[in-house]
């Protein structure tokens, strides 16, 4: 086991897969000489050559569209969108094209590719460098979406994504890149897409979350442990497919469900989590389902005050946990 940051996990997955498989290549803005704006691909151009580490023009639809074509022709492209806020121009290629190629050709063509992008707030990224985009894509059959929150998951899920035969979006919370450190297995390993993790065991309530909020919620849980409340933290890791068994297993055990995400509440991923529980475990619950999420405003503002008011805090989560446990 080595200790790495999330960023290093991402880098190592890319590096190892490019070393292992000639079909894998990277394309995106500033991924070459600059080595990506977060320095994830620093040194890659020298190691793998300009042909496999392509600095694209500033045009997201073509970053994804060209990658789709390359995937159809047998490559394994990893397309990078510099910040998730810039993924909108590529929406047609992701939702209208990549997600439907296998289905529309009845398996004649396939689209094994990865779209990676840093998302999320808490880094003073202001209105256009802070967005969460998972809810804008998770409704789309044909896509898979992973949201790692630890270095091991970042590396293992991205590795799985690159090896997957279908298009996978890998959403990396940019605040975790350097903040979150953790143990990562040595050598080749993967984390399966579609399996949630129990980040912390507990018996009094279940907190279902993902991304940076796994860590914020865990902090809140540690606080509550001192008060004698043991929260179970379920880190979804995959948003689509979603691990219904783990969610339902945890909720059935604790009989209380709190959903936490940074993204806006209305129509967020938490809505589907709540719906699954309400459909399948309604009578196992001793309290209403509760969501702690980002507010329903258009964006996270630049000023520190906006950011702090937007992001679910340890305190807000802890309060909700306490109330739910006492219900």
């Amino acid at each position: 086991m080595a200790t790495k940051t999330v960023l290093e996990g991402v880098r190592d997955a890319l590096y190892n897969e490019m070393s292992r498989d000639e079909r894998v290549f990277i394309m995106g803005e500033d991924v070459g000489a600059r080595g990506n704006v977060f320095l994830i691909t620093q040194g890659f151009m020298d190691k793998f050559g300009r042909q496999r580490v392509i600095d694209t023009p500033l045009a997201e639809a073509s970053i994804v569209g060209v990658a789709v074509g390359a995937a159809m022709a047998g490559m394994r492209p990893v397309a990078e969108i510099q910040f998730a806020d810039f993924i909108y121009p590529a929406y047609n290629q992701i939702v209208g094209e990549a997600a439907k190629i296998r289905y529309r050709s009845a398996g004649g063509n396939t689209c094994p590719m990865v779209i990676r992008t840093p998302y999320g707030g808490g880094v003073r990224g202001a209105l256009s460098h802070s967005v969460s985009v998972e809810a804008l894509f998770y409704h789309v059959p044909g896509l898979k979406i992973v949201v790692p929150s630890t270095p091991a998951d970042a590396q293992g899920l991205l590795t799985s994504a690159i090896r997957d035969d279908d298009p996978v979006m890998c959403l990396e919370h940019k605040r975790t890149y350097r903040l979150i450190k953790g143990e990562v297995p040595e050598g080749d390993f993967t984390v399966p897409i579609g399996k949630a993790a129990i980040a912390r065991e507990g018996k009094d309530l279940s907190v279902i979350t993902y991304g940076l909020m796994r860590h914020t919620a865990t902090e809140a849980a540690e606080k509550l442990a001192a008060e004698g409340i043991e929260a179970e933290i379920v880190d979804l890791r995959s948003i689509r497919p979603m691990d219904r068994e783990t969610i339902l297993g945890s909720v059935t055990k604790t009989r209380r469900a709190l959903i936490v995400h940074e993204d806006n509440k209305f129509g967020g991923v938490g809505a589907e989590v709540a719906a699954i529980i309400a459909e399948e475990a309604l009578f196992e619950l001793d309290a209403p389902i509760r969501r702690v999420c980002g507010p329903d405003v258009p964006a996270m503002g630049y000023a520190k005050e906006y950011e702090e008011a937007f992001m679910p805090s340890v305190e807000r989560i802890a309060t909700a946990m306490r109330e739910l446990a006492a219900y």
Partner: protein, 338 residues
């Protein structure tokens, strides 16, 4: 008849009298498939048909410029003749019209003419205009990365060049000099919108300069001229000299699709006028003029094609439709819910 060797010398590189006659045969086969589609639509047997009448010459010419088995085609929904000239059979075409389970393009999921025939190097497309253009570029990028000799032919209408994705595709392709050819089938309309409401220029080919690539205009009602232009562009791409934008001027002989009514936006005079540009009689005259074919041969070709289309129709109609379970196949490699 003039002696064939002398004619051959005057033919563009790669074209033989046999190939010219085959080209003609594909144009005729296409016309009959097209007519059949609209007849079936009128009979209420299929809900939708899209015509390629007026485009047969550019498509046949372009198809024969491809190196069969090597080069890839990323077509658009109006490319019946390109597909039939690239190895798609009448039976396969009719199966997609009837949306049967055995339809090899999409198993009845897509509108007609949304080909996907990987074993004949034809890529899958959606109906979303211009979304396939970057795909062709990406395929060409893959061939370049793997040092394969394949070139990709990407087609679209002039209306499609208004889309942002079209621009991005040409820009990327020219920077990376990927082996592809952009072929615009300019029929002067995007459904009802005439070219002058789509762009402030006369020639789509004028857009090539903005990408530092050659822009070539050709008469898209002449398959030999189109062949030559596309052939040259393809071999240029194969040599590693980068992409070309070819604009073939053609026309749309009918309404946009079976759902459209051109009388709402085209004058009867205009509709009459385009009929005089029919590429099929024009090509017949060309072939006869060079002694490469005669009326008897045309008749024979037409009869053979008619039989093919009739048989294909009966056969395809009798094939089973998809079932409810088919709804759930090919969602992910690993199954419906991954």
């Amino acid at each position: 008849m003039k002696s064939e060797p002398r004619i051959r010398a005057a033919l563009p590189e790669g074209l033989t009298p046999d190939k010219l006659r085959e080209m003609y045969a594909k144009m005729v086969l296409t016309r009959l498939c097209d007519d059949r589609a609209f007849a079936l639509n009128r009979q209420g047997k299929i809900p939708f048909a899209a015509t390629c009448q007026g485009h047969e010459a550019v498509q046949a010419g372009a198809a024969f410029a491809l190196r069969r088995g090597t080069d890839w085609l990323v077509p658009y929904y109006r490319d019946t003749c390109l597909a039939l000239s690239s190895g798609v059979t009448a039976k396969e075409q009719l199966m997609c019209l009837f949306a049967r389970k055995g339809d090899i393009f999409s198993s009845g999921r897509q509108f007609p003419n949304h080909y996907s025939v990987p074993d004949r190097q034809i890529a899958s497309i959606s109906s979303i205009i211009a979304a396939h253009v970057t795909h062709g570029v990406g395929m060409a990028l893959a061939f370049k990365m793997r040092n394969e000799p394949a070139v990709v032919l990407i087609t679209f209408g002039e209306g499609s060049t208004s889309e942002g994705e079209w621009h991005e595709a040409l820009n990327f392709a020219s920077i990376h000099k990927v082996p592809c050819v952009f072929l615009c089938e300019n029929n002067e309309y995007a459904i009802s919108v005439p070219q002058k409401m789509q762009m402030a220029i006369q020639n789509v080919a004028d857009r090539a300069a903005g990408y530092g690539m050659p822009g070539v205009i050709c008469d898209g009602t002449d398959p030999v001229v189109t062949y030559s232009c596309v052939h040259e562009a393809i071999e240029r791409a194969r040599r590693g000299d980068g992409p070309t934008l070819v604009e073939a001027k053609c026309y749309r002989a009918m309404s946009h699709t079976s759902d459209d009514n051109q009388l709402t936006y085209r004058t009867p005079e205009e509709i009459e006028a385009v009929k005089t540009r029919d590429p099929i009689p024009k090509f017949e005259a060309w072939l006869k003029d060079r002694g490469l074919a005669d009326d008897a041969m045309f008749e024979e070709i037409r009869e053979k094609a008619q039989r093919e289309v009739d048989e294909a129709t009966d056969w395809a109609e009798a094939q089973p439709p998809p079932t409810e379970e088919d709804l759930y196949t090919h969602v992910y490699a690993s199954g419906p819910l991954s």
